[in-house]
Symmetry: C2
Subunit: 340 residues, 2 copies
């Protein structure tokens, strides 16, 4: 059977917010499978802030997407044809499937580092494997526990609090006996963090004086700050960081589309005053431990200690760009996915 695959390619590198001319959308026919290969119908494309970085040239933790290449994307899908003994038609999988409707993949890690991982949709819905049990969940788990090192009764602040990473960070911190204060960009997200995720407080950075609100919400100061946003908020937190505090640099979404040079944290000398630490993390560094972490997180989900992630599903591969840009405008709420 012939499959027609509509896909998104990177056409040029954006300055600031990505624009339509930076992408090409084209439809091609899927070639026949070679032995060892698998054809996956992409069901859900994950939209992640890191994608913006992949559009840039220059040194980063991952190579840039090449011009003319399919836009790199984590995704989940279902096997529709298989020439590989390890995969059967109907299996659900995740992997770096790209922003497209169909993906031909080799099924072996040895042949293909972005290999397919089979997932059990009986245990959790497919989108959970792009959220709590996927990269964002692993990012939260290792970033908070290994780098943030929260101790019972510590105060943990997390920005992007209602996001896929932030919501898991806050919930794990609660499980570890911490006081948890979120920072988010609208009232619905603030309410969600407090009422549904059980955060002790959450601050609306668009309507509140963040410095004053943090002082009120963190009377014992801030022991751990998990930063997804960068910019002014990081600077404000630095002024309230405790002795031996830990700042986990996970992202800086408020700066990703800057065309002006990024503003550094002017208050970084508070690291000296408080002998505090600021450390960058990358989820892939812990790949060998993903299995154990996912098992522990799946247990927490089953026991209701972690909520199932909020998901916002958009539709149509032609809507890839407006969907991606919702990450930067903050219009998304929960795990943002695109059904292509």
């Amino acid at each position: 059977m012939a499959y027609s695959n509509t896909r998104v390619l990177l056409a040029s590198r954006p300055q600031g917010l990505p624009q339509p001319e930076n992408l090409t959308i084209e439809t091609v026919e899927v070639p026949p499978l070679a032995p060892g290969q698998v054809l996956v119908k992409v069901e859900l494309i994950s939209l992640d802030p890191a994608m913006r970085g992949w559009m840039n040239e220059g040194k980063s933790y991952a190579p840039p997407i090449a011009i003319g290449e399919v836009f790199r994307a984590l995704a989940a899908g279902q096997v529709v044809e298989s020439q590989h003994p390890g995969f059967a038609v109907g299996d659900y999988v995740t992997g770096v499937l790209g922003a497209q409707q169909y993906m031909v993949r080799a099924g072996d890690a040895a042949q293909d580092p972005a290999y397919l991982r089979k997932v059990d949709t009986g245990l959790a819905p497919l989108e959970t494997y792009l959220a709590t049990l996927g990269m964002p969940g692993m990012t939260a788990y290792f970033g908070l526990l290994d780098t943030g090192q929260p101790q019972p009764a510590n105060t943990v602040v997390v920005s992007g609090a209602a996001g896929t990473v932030g919501s898991v960070v806050g919930q794990i911190a609660k499980l570890k006996g911490c006081r948890v204060v979120g920072i988010a960009g609208d009232q619905a997200k603030v309410d969600y963090c407090v009422q549904e995720l059980g955060f002790d407080a959450c601050i609306n950075y668009k309507t509140e004086d963040v410095a004053a609100a943090l002082r009120a919400a963190c009377p014992q100061g801030i022991d751990v700050y998990f930063d997804n946003v960068g910019g002014e908020i990081l600077d404000t937190v630095l002024l309230q960081i405790n002795l031996k505090g830990r700042i986990v640099i996970c992202g800086a979404i408020l700066q990703y589309n800057n065309t002006a040079p990024a503003k550094g944290p002017a208050n970084y000398m508070m690291l000296l005053v408080n002998r505090a630490r600021m450390e960058g993390i990358l989820v892939g560094d812990n790949a060998v431990r993903f299995g154990d972490a996912a098992r522990e997180m799946a247990g927490w989900l089953r026991e209701g200690k972690l909520t199932t992630p909020k998901v916002q599903t958009e539709h149509g591969i032609e809507n890839f760009l407006p969907t991606l840009n919702k990450l930067f405008s903050g219009e998304n709420f929960g795990k943002l996915v695109l059904a292509p």
Copy 2:
């Protein structure tokens, strides 16, 4: 016997570089000793960058010097009268003696947290106890070894390289088998680091393109950066930091007299790209381990593995302010002390 004590008090808090009107110099008579007290003739006052911070109001790792208080200073001196059984006339001591000619001190830690420490001038000259075997040496030792964690064959970069801290950092890094690259502000300092301290290279940041010079001197990238200066140099190093690199924030002398808000390190997102760490240190946090560290450092000095520190001695308590300000103009070379 009556002693006349000329001393420096803080009169007001400076904006930018300290000025004469920020200080009062006065002469008072030393009161008679009470039981348990010791009178110390101050021989050498240590000039340290941290003093600038103590002149400011506001939260820091040490309380500010109060207006009207004797200017806080580490110093070394000799006991000239004693009402304490643990100290005899003629003993050499170090402590927070202040910017003055005579200091009355209780001899017990229990009575006085800035208590006197007896030192052996047979083992090392008095000024060494204000340098390699004093706070700067301890800062270098613990900051480099505990926080910087240099591994053999790592590349270690240190700014303020010819200074009391930087010169010890670089020499210990060499002892640990690292490639060591200094950054300093004039050619004599550069030559001293390479020819006398055995650094592999040293960069003159006033005459060279620091980014290009670092790339040439650090072909394997930078694993550890020990930062004494802050500002642009920190930003430049961030662009060359290696995966899992460690940046030790010890000071930012190039920013201490800024009246404009400090500039943050705009390239701090390289911490994320490289999963690197930036951590502030304060020597006092390791006080319980000073004895062991000093014994190890004294051994290295005896064996010639550490050079005796270069010392620049100025004279006259009335020259306290111009001497202090040499730290910020970079006119000092080696450990700067004032014989009052």
